[in-house]
Each structure stands twice: as C-alpha cells, then as structure tokens.
Amino acid sequence: MLSELSGWAITAVAALGVLSVAAGVAVFVVDSMARATFALLASFLAVAGILLALDLVYLAVVTALMMTIEMAIMAVFMIMFMMNPAGLMPMTMVHNAKGSAVTGAGAFVVLTVGIWTIDWPTRDTSRPADSTRQLGEAIMGSHMLVMLVIGIGLFTTILAGTVLATSRGRYDRFGAGLTAKRPDDPVPGGLRR
C-alpha cells in the first residue's frame, strides 16, 4: 500500500497526522470553549487533508463538510445546554481525569494492537478510476443497511437532543385542550399558521 504512494503523499500524511494529534491535544489544553471547538475542527480538517493526500477526494471533502457543520451545531447546543451559555468564561475540557485517562489508554492499546495484528486484506485488483463512484455504489448497495441504521440513529439522537433542550411542548403552544388556532410561541416565526 505504502509503496503505491508518492513521497509527497507519504510526507503529507505524516505531517497532517502529527498536526491532527497536536490539535487534538490542544482541545484539552486551551481554556475556552470556542478555542477547544476550533482546535477539534482543525484536527478533523487535518484528517480530511490525509484523505485528500490518499486521493479519496469525496471522503476528504465530506469529512471537512460534516465536521464543520458539526462544530457549528455544537456551538448552537452550547447555548442551549451549558451553564455558561456563550462559553465566554474560562473553562476546561478535562473532566474525570483518572477515568478518562484509563479509557483513553485502553482505546489506544486496543486500536494499536488491532492495527498491527489483524491480517488486512490486500487489494488484488487495480485502483478504480473514480473512487467517488465506487463509494456511492458501496453505500447504496452492499452497505445500505448499515448506512440506514446509522442515519436513523443519528436522526433520532438529534430529535432527542432538541426535545431535551426545549422546555416547551405542544400543550404550552396550543393550550391544554390543543385548541388554539395559532401557537403561542415566544418567537413568532415567519409563516402564518
């Protein structure tokens, strides 16, 4: 696998790998919510850069896209859930230091042992001309069930998060008998209902 890559690609993968780990460490070093969020985004963007160096353009671009949206939505959730709404005051991302150190070390050991001991399959066919098309066919074909399960799981989580974040339900909006013609919302919105 490595032998197929150019020297530039290997250098880029190594440098971006170091960058992504460094940015990941920065998440727990900085003292503001915004900096932690954007350090995490920098880490993900470095991973997207690695995918780009490996010539997996779609995966690279979609990683950058999704992770950016995710970080921005995290900022929205930050206002909804945190006791320090805008994250303006100094804070730390380190909680439960001992427990998380054990979990982190354990995960590292499992992943490293797995990576070096699994007998990875070697590719016996030539590289596809268009990895995007191949990926699309895999997602829409043989791996569709997995993607659907993950998609619905994510969607449910988003709905659950929103339900937990709002204290108002339909009885607050439409009255005890749900009879009100127009909902009583603190923010009126843009559409006539």
Partner: protein
Amino acid sequence: MPERTLAEVWGLVPAVLGIVAIGLVLGLVVTAVDRVVVVGASGAAVEPIRSSARLLVEQRRTTLAPDRLLWRIGCVAVPTLALLSLAVVPVGGRTLWSTSADLVWFNAMEALLWAAVWLVGWGPNAIHALTGGYRFLAQGLAYELPLMFALITAGLAAGSLRTTDVVAAQQGLWFVVTMPVAFVVFVASAAAFAFWGPFAAPAAPDIAGGVTSELSGVDRLLVEAGRAVFLGASAAMAAALFLGGDSGPWLPGPLWHLLKTLAVVAALVWVGRRMPMLRPDRTVEVGWMVLVPLTLLQALIVAVLVLNGFYA
C-alpha cells in the same frame, strides 16, 4: 472523464493567481452593481476601490480582551474560503482543479465560511458581534440543507459531481428549465451565506452592525471583500450549474459564461435590494418549513426524469 484542469494548462501558480484575480473582479462587480442599484450610477466602479484603499490604511481598533487568534483566523478565512469555492467553478471550460466531488467541495467551503463568520462574531468579545454571529449560525443551519439539495439536484441530473460534467450535460437543455426551484434556492442560499440583502440580519443595524460591528481597517476589508467575492463566485457557479455555463451561439464560450454571471448578479442585486431586510426568525423558519421540502420535491422530480432517461 476528467479533462485537463486550469492548473495543468496554465501552470499552477498562474492558474491560482488567475482565479484570485477573477474572484476579486467578481467581488468588485457585485459591489459596483450593488452601488448602482442603491445610490445610482455615480462612481459605482471607483467607490469600492477607494473605500478598499481607505480601509487598508485605516488603523485597527480593538476591544477589551478579544480572542485575537480566533478573530484574525475568522477574518482571513472569509475571503480565502470565498476564493477557494471559486476553484471548482469552470473558467473557459476548465476548473482550477477538478475532482470527482466538485459540488461537495463547493458546499464544504460554504460550511467552513459559516464557521469563519461565527469566529468573526466571537472574536471581539462584544455583545453585538456575538449576537450577529449566533444569528448567522441559525441562518446558515437553515439554508445549508436547501443549498445542499439544490447542488445535488444539478449533480443528479448530470450523473456526476464534477462541475465540467454538469456543464457538459446541459448541451441540449439548460438545467434551469427542469429545476427552476433549485436555481432560485441556490441563489437565495448564497445570499443567506453572504448575509446580504434580505438575509443581512446577522449584520443588521438593530444590533449595531452585528458580526461586522467591531471590524476596522484591514479586517473589515477582508470580511466585506469575502462576502462580495462569495456572492460573485456563487453567481458564476449558478450560471455554470443551471444556465448552461459557456454554451451559447456566436460569441465565444467564456464570454457567454461571463454574461450569464453578470445577469445572475444583476438579478440577485436588483431583487435583493428591493426586499426589506427580514427578521432572522422569519428567514430561518422559511428555510426549514418551505425551502427544505421544496428542494426535496425538486430533487424527486429530477430523479424521476433521470430514471426516465430525460437527460440521457
């Protein structure tokens, strides 16, 4: 199949410089057209250059305890991302770089722009700027999905996410004929992402200029130029994805693309400046409740047409 890119034809450095120049000219055109529509024709082309020069020499003012690092990153990122989104817009039939996921690249640059604008609001540690940043976050969230569906609809009909393939697929019929909703939503979402016209609430006067309230000197120039370049790049992209790009009789191809881009810019500014600035809660609800279902329906119609071999 992948054709040769601009970088391969012109060489990497000239191609990058060329795209940057085209982006700046497009931004200038947007600003000039905006000025013509708002205050009339006097000095429309000169005024943006004059105020840019003034901002370049203006001394930067700062606020109490700003997050300087993130603020600067945000200010530099806005024009950079606007120019990067231009990398996949065809110029003379070629893009600066061509991948099998051009449309997703364009979308990713928009998402990064979204994060960058929030940083511009966050950085100065000021209430109005932060309010503007959060307004933009909610607006971007609501218009991200319609924009994504509009882009994907064009890719769906062409059977490719490569911009040059999308242009090539419109030889017979411009995509705007079968996907007018996607076209309009694309242009409107571009305005929403540049927080311009009716979508300018993140930089509205009621919050003293919002995200732009604490910007001065070169920072203000970068952010304002980034907004204008992004609008121009989106107009060029709309012309390529929905109006057939450089196809047209008699005139050479690049000129046609330029004319179509100018037409989109003129229409966008003319319509946008005739609408009042809308409250963010209104625009956001319209995005979620109207535009998302509409664009999904549009994608469904196009998908059925694709299955029937309409675009083949």
